[in-house]
């Protein structure tokens, strides 16, 4: 315990990196999820097929493989492209950018399915009513689809987020100094790896517990005025 207090600065800064990584990748995932859901539901053949290929690939390949591929391969790709076209010089992709981008894109695939299901769950008549009231597509999304989609998507969204927050641990493999990396370094230098890994485990448990409270609050907020069936 004394050792953990001695190393708490490292653990806290690592936790902060983990939280930032999780939140930024969540924002990317939501963006890709909305885009993907829109493409899957659109009438455009190319958009549909692209979205289908995206979700299939991203859900078929483990996230760590993609993180490594983007971190090592992506850098080389960007630099060769820059060298051939002469548009930019040497670019370095940081561990944080590679991690947040890849995890965001991977979970965007899962979010696509969640959002698509949520949009389909909205009764078609409401959208038609919106059209009849003379709303344009953007207004319909903002006033009719958007608020209800949040409610329908929340269970799936919560699930994805809880998996995603745990996936951020993988970024320590490419050397990002997150809570796992810092805990591992501290544990190795003090030869107390069990103590430190257990502390890291507890930090993750804390993060999931806090998100659970937040998600439950969101769920209550967005299902105000909804009578739930009691399946007793």
């Amino acid at each position: 315990m004394d050792l953990i207090i001695e190393y708490q600065a490292q653990l806290l800064s690592g936790t902060w990196v983990t939280i930032r990584l999780a939140l930024i990748s969540l924002a990317i995932a939501v963006m890709f999820g909305l885009l993907g859901a829109w493409a899957k539901l659109s009438k455009n053949f190319v958009a549909q097929k692209t979205a289908a290929a995206y979700t299939t690939i991203v859900r078929g390949v483990p996230d760590l493989v993609l993180i490594l591929l983007v971190f090592y391969g992506g850098q080389q790709l960007v630099n060769s492209f820059g060298a051939i076209t002469g548009l930019w010089g040497y670019v370095e992709i940081s561990q944080f950018a590679a991690g947040a981008g890849t995890i965001g894109i991977v979970f965007g695939g899962y979010m696509t399915e969640t959002f698509r299901g949520a949009i389909l769950a909205i009764p078609r008549g409401q959208i038609e009513a919106g059209i009849a009231c003379g709303m344009n597509r953007f207004t319909i999304f903002r006033r009719v689809i958007g608020p209800q989609m949040v409610r329908y998507a929340l269970p799936g969204f919560s699930n994805n987020w809880l998996v995603q927050i745990k996936s951020t641990a993988l970024v320590s493999v490419i050397g990002l100094q997150d809570v796992v990396y810092n805990g591992f370094v501290a544990g190795r230098s003090t030869r107390q790896l069990f103590t430190f890994m257990f502390a890291v485990l507890m930090i993750y448990l804390e993060l999931t517990a806090i998100s659970d409270v937040g998600l439950r609050w969101l769920d209550r907020k967005y299902s105000k005025g909804i009578v739930r069936t009691d399946h007793g």
């Binding site: 690939i57 859900r59 078929g60 390949v61 483990p62 996230d63 760590l64 493989v65 993609l66 490594l68 591929l69 090592y72 391969g73 850098q75 080389q76 790709l77 809880l162 745990k166 996936s167 951020t168 641990a169 993988l170 320590s172 493999v173 796992v180 591992f184 544990g187 190795r188 030869r191 107390q192 790896l193 069990f194 103590t195 890994m197 257990f198 890291v200 485990l201 993750y204 448990l205 999931t208 517990a209």
Partner: protein, 259 residues
Amino acid sequence: MGESFIAFIEAWSPLDLVLIAQNFDRFLWGALVTLQLTALSLVVGGLMSIPLAIIRAGNNPFLNAPVWAFTYLFRGTPLLVQTYLIYYGLGQFEWIRQTVLWDPILSQAWWCALIAFSLNTAAYTTELLRGSIETTNKGEVEAAKACGLGKWMRLRRIVLPSAFRRALPAYSNEVIFMLHGSVVASTITIQDLLGVGRWLNGRYYLAYEGFITAAVLYFIIVLLVSRGFRLWEKHWLKHLYPLEVVEEKPKKGAASFRI
């Protein structure tokens, strides 16, 4: 033709396909390690989860609380950290190093990965099975009671068979997640599929070849596994699907007044 074909590929392919082909047997071995670790941990974790799920679905608080704590801990934390805790962490304790288990098992990366994966999937499967045990139709249990089946007989003949079936779609997700999660093995020196990819890239100082080959092979494995599960579901959940209605075509010449 052969040699000129290889020379053509060497000159034009962005990936070093010849190198991949030369090392392909290593990749297959890696895939075998991945499949073996995943399958074994699913079997061990699955067997553990059945009694645990029965405890969780029951109402004995003394048994329920520790099982709840176990599933909460393992579902709320990353598999990577769990694996590190077992592989790197256990060596911290002198008394564990002294036990008989240390030398053949707990100091070996493969065994540590198997233990971590099994506990992880056991935790997820327990909660999944608990959900489907709890949603068993009340009438079925009442009918079993009326037939005079005892508690264990009810569980074995009525509750578990239907719970397993209902859990199947969610369990196929768990299997895919475990397959994805098994890449963690490569971080504790195991030469699984990703481990081979990392080895190849490190040895020849490459950026794409190893990872892309591993990614393609993982993709194929996931595709086959999910196809397999879909067939399995079709067989075991046949009674839950809507009946296929065969529409009769009106015969030619017959007057049809159907509106």
